[in-house]
Symmetry: C2
Subunit: 241 residues, 2 copies
């Protein structure tokens, strides 16, 4: 039995996220159908994370067990003959049978794209258009407060027992009117990146001060943080094991 | 009766072109419905050109007559509250009652985008992915043969009485692996830009020589020219009156 590690790139616009669910088209559902056609086996794929409807991936990692002998370098080419053009298989390699795409992650990096220039029909599914001019320096000052191990209860939707996560880096960069947020952490709570982004946006607008972030974290109260940024600006960017 | 000049930007991915037609969603159909909601009149819009299904516009010009007194600067704002996010009204001004959006054009510029880097899920609806490395210098040499007044019968689909057009400029530029073709002409035959692009691509691949363009034009025979490039790389870029 081989354990295959597979990376994907996908445009999440037309999908209800990664994870398979009834009555909805998902990346996992479409991928498993393509695998079934190529491998002639019923295979369940393990993904590195759920991603929400409309969220994209520049690098998504998943893995699956197979009896099939098809060489690794041929797997992406074969799968891409069956996958729609908004999902591409990029790289496949064989890994240890104990490898787990979700539990073995050391860090994941997300990229959030804010269009702070002018509304652009061609970017509407790929960024969050924010009309008010944002102060990137203030956003970067605020970003520093997120770095380190914290209880991120203020920055999540829903309930969870362990809400402590470690943010390794958080950078805000502006180029040609597009603001890119890059965040790397050991793990994420539900909607964490989108709520951090919505909070940083309010700092950029001057509705919050950079130093307010410390108090929002300490409050452990979702209502103290900013809005939840919409899904279409969010990209899973990198996954490390 | 006021004659209003209106510019639009649109992502053509989800539309069957500009021109209204039964049993299909078109830009004109959606625009006329939005105008009807705002202006409370049944209005027929005159567009500067048909554009095919999947073709985009960075600047599309249309015009329509109205009794409504709404100030020009308010028109785009009002229309944008009714239009879907893949169509945006940009600018409105009042013009002479004799102005005609199609017949009065002096020149139109199209931009064609070729992705010559690697397939990218986020660019799939906005460029033509060409795997073979294209020689941009050869394409530019070939482009020169199109400039001037010619019979472009070899570069059209269908039949038309007058197939003479004047190409004012044709440039091929490469940036970061994307090849941009810009063509400005007094008018276009059906599929003309897409067939010129497909022919230039064959020059870039080395399947045709630059000098072959002269013979292909002289042949007045569609079968001598290259393939028709797909619609998703094509943008109406500018219109001059």
């Amino acid at each position: 039995m081989r354990n295959l590690f597979l990376t994907l790139e996908y445009d999440g616009t037309n999908y209800h996220g990664f994870q398979i669910q009834p009555n909805a088209i998902t990346i996992q559902g479409v991928l498993e159908n393509a695998i079934k056609e190529i491998f002639k086996e019923d295979i369940t794929v393990t993904g590195c994370s759920r991603t929400d409807a409309g969220v994209h991936a520049k690098k998504y990692v998943c893995s699956f067990f197979t009896e099939c002998k098809i060489p690794c370098e041929k797997v992406p080419i074969a799968l891409n003959t069956k996958l729609p053009y908004d999902i591409r298989a990029i790289l496949c390699k064989e890994v240890d049978e104990n490898f787990h795409a979700r539990f073995d992650t050391v860090s994941k990096t997300y990229n959030y794209v804010i269009n702070n220039r002018e509304f652009d029909v061609f970017k509407r599914n790929y960024s969050w258009y924010v009309d008010a001019k944002l102060d990137v320096e203030k956003m970067n000052n605020a970003a520093k407060y997120f770095i380190g191990k914290h209880d991120f209860k203020s920055f999540m939707t829903g309930e969870k027992d362990n809400t402590e996560r470690e943010v390794f880096s958080l950078d805000v960069e502006e180029k040609d009117g597009f603001i890119n947020i890059f965040i790397t952490a050991d793990g994420y709570l539900y909607n964490m990146v989108r709520i951090i982004t919505g909070t940083l946006k309010m700092v950029g607008e001057g509705k919050l001060n950079s130093e307010d972030i410390k108090h929002i974290i300490d409050a452990k109260d979702r209502t103290k943080a900013g809005v939840t940024a919409p899904p279409q600006g969010l990209y899973l960017y990198d996954v490390k094991y």
